[in-house]
Amino acid sequence: MIRDTSIGAKLWITAVWAVTIFFVLNVLAIIATVIVSSLGTRWLGTWLPNAFTFNWYASAWREFQLGPVLFVTFQIAFTVVALSGLLGVTAAYAMARRDFPGKRLIMLLFLLPLLVPPITFGIPLATVLYQFNVGGTFWGVVLANLVPTVPFVILVMIPFIEQIDPKVEAAARVFGAGTFKLFVYVLMPMLIPGILAALLLVLVRTVAMFELTFLTAGPTSQTLVVSLYYAVFASGVRAVQSIDAMAVIYMVSTLVWLLVALRFVNPTQIVARGNQSSAAH
């Protein structure tokens, strides 16, 4: 944009980039440590392990029963994706297309679960779920995870639906499409990129959601991230490398979806979209 070539400006720019690069290097190093450790035979007091092996993955798989844990994780995640998609997209459509009394209040209602951190509302939520005997079960974990994801889908989808000209829908109706056909032939094809992006992000969020799952999961409904927490918590019992191997498996199971999602959205939107509407006032 506007060039600034004075020495002070150059120093300042260099300092800003130095801080940024330092931060990024540390983030990458943290991730790399986990990966290197999971592949090393023994790693004590040196820059790199003595030798490399894949054995820790096999032992982690066995010791932490990762097969069933992964199965439960994705069962929960995909259930959450399906339900939050169904609830979120329909609500977003109504919010985008109609003005009705109390709309601002409802908007606030949808914003709150995104603004209040999970650990704060998770404890009373877990209490209620245990009261109704769903605490500790599969459905308990699903319900808890839906609390932030349904509003998330709504807030991502509202601007997406708003940008579709209502005249397109009117045209479809004029040419004889009923509500169902309108949705299947006209709306869905136009909304698919948005829905896909929103649901992929929901998937990532659910796989990575520690607090809510930790508070509501029982022994058979633990997801990978909760198992990882318990493994790190009780470290000393198992080899560090084995825990790291588990951590890498967790990383892969999250990042795959993130990478797919990033084909559809800008990283900035992952944090910003949901909060933009609250920023307006």
Partner: protein
């Protein structure tokens, strides 16, 4: 350092160029602008006129040539050090500042004492007739009022040069005419040297002392509105100046600057622009208001009338020659639609360009 209110005689662009990679957006633009002159940069979108303005403002760096105020070279200066004023296409008013603060911004940045800022801002508000709106935020103003604030903000600093980037393009037709007169009035009063970018030839003709026509990053013609309107130097300038009817053909005879072009089944006489010899391919261009119904059927171009529209004082018709070439003409009476008539073209007002 500030250049504002520095006495000077002219601003000179000397082979100013700007390339974006392999694309030459501006090629060796050379132009001198006298103090107090109102220059319009006219051209279709993508011709480089906005690039030129941004280079002069310092918002874009040039890739060749220089910009001078008298003999002082300024193209290496940062925009804030050039001391110019600028009116942006979408006004770019600071949304968090009142009208008064917006207008006083440049003076404040120059560290002028508050008492002086107050007086000058008050004068500028009076000049653009915004008394009573001074404490509003830009969001509370109409488009035309925002436009006035943008103009006041640019001229209050008494800059050596005011740059205007299509300032009227966001207004509706009626307001556009009103603001055009307003800009004219303010210029007459302030005599601020101005470069005005537009793609609208009416704006350029009615506002400018001189018009610079740009196309593909090159100056095609520089002249007063009258010169450009009457004597466009190139076919594309002529197109811009309303020469809607064009006939491609060959020069069959020439006498002085008068020549005759044969365009298929008919031939027309016109005035030659440049050097064209008989046998050369040429295009004859003429404005619709210089094409009339011929009194006698023998004297003109025989055509069939396609459509005829009543425009109040006269009629405007579209007709077709035997080869299917379309001609737009003016008439004081309505010929029958579908009827055969002859059109006469005033040779003094039809121009012949080399093709």
């Amino acid at each position: 350092m500030q250049l504002a209110s520095m006495p000077f005689n002219e601003i000179r662009l000397d082979r100013m160029s700007r390339a974006f990679g392999a694309l030459n957006a501006l090629r060796e633009i050379t132009l001198s602008i006298r103090k107090g002159e109102f220059i319009a940069l006219l051209g279709p979108s993508g011709c480089g006129k906005s690039t030129a303005l941004n280079c002069i403002a310092g918002l874009l760096s040039t890739t060749g040539g220089g910009i001078y105020i008298d003999d002082k070279r300024i193209d290496q200066f940062k925009p804030e050090d050039r001391g110019f004023g600028m009116v942006f296409q979408n006004y770019a008013l600071f949304p968090h500042m009142s009208v008064r603060k917006n207008i006083g911004f440049g003076l404040k940045m120059r560290g002028r004492p508050q008492s002086e800022i107050d007086i000058k801002v008050e004068e500028a508000i009076a000049l653009v007739r915004l008394q009573g709106h001074a404490d509003k935020l830009p969001g509370q103003l109409s488009g035309g009022q925002q436009q006035r604030v943008a103009i006041a903000r640019a001229i209050v600093i008494e800059p050596p040069l005011v740059l205007m980037d299509e300032p009227l393009s966001n207004l509706d037709a009626k307001l556009r005419l009103e603001m055009r007169a307003e800009i004219r009035r303010i210029h007459n009063q302030m005599k601020a040297t101005t470069i005005y970018v537009t793609h609208d030839q009416d704006e350029a003709l009615s506002l400018a002392d001189r018009i610079v026509v740009l196309r593909d990053g090159v100056i095609r013609q520089v002249g007063t509105p009258h010169e450009l309107y009457e004597k466009p130097a190139h076919l594309d300038v002529a197109e811009f100046m309303g020469f809607r009817n064009r006939f491609a053909g060959k020069v069959i005879s020439r006498e002085g600057d008068r020549a005759t072009v044969s365009a298929g089944s008919f031939s027309v006489s016109g005035t030659v622009v440049g050097a064209l010899q008989p046998g050369a391919s040429a295009v004859l261009a003429v404005r619709p208001d210089d094409v009339m119904l011929a009194e006698q059927a023998s004297g003109g171009v025989p055509v069939t009338v396609d459509t005829i529209e009543y425009r109040g004082r006269e009629y405007v018709g579209i007709a077709r020659t035997g080869d299917g070439v379309e001609i737009v003409f003016h008439a004081d009476r309505a010929p029958a639609q579908g009827g055969a008539v002859a059109l006469s073209i005033d040779p003094a007002r039809a121009l012949i360009f080399g093709a």
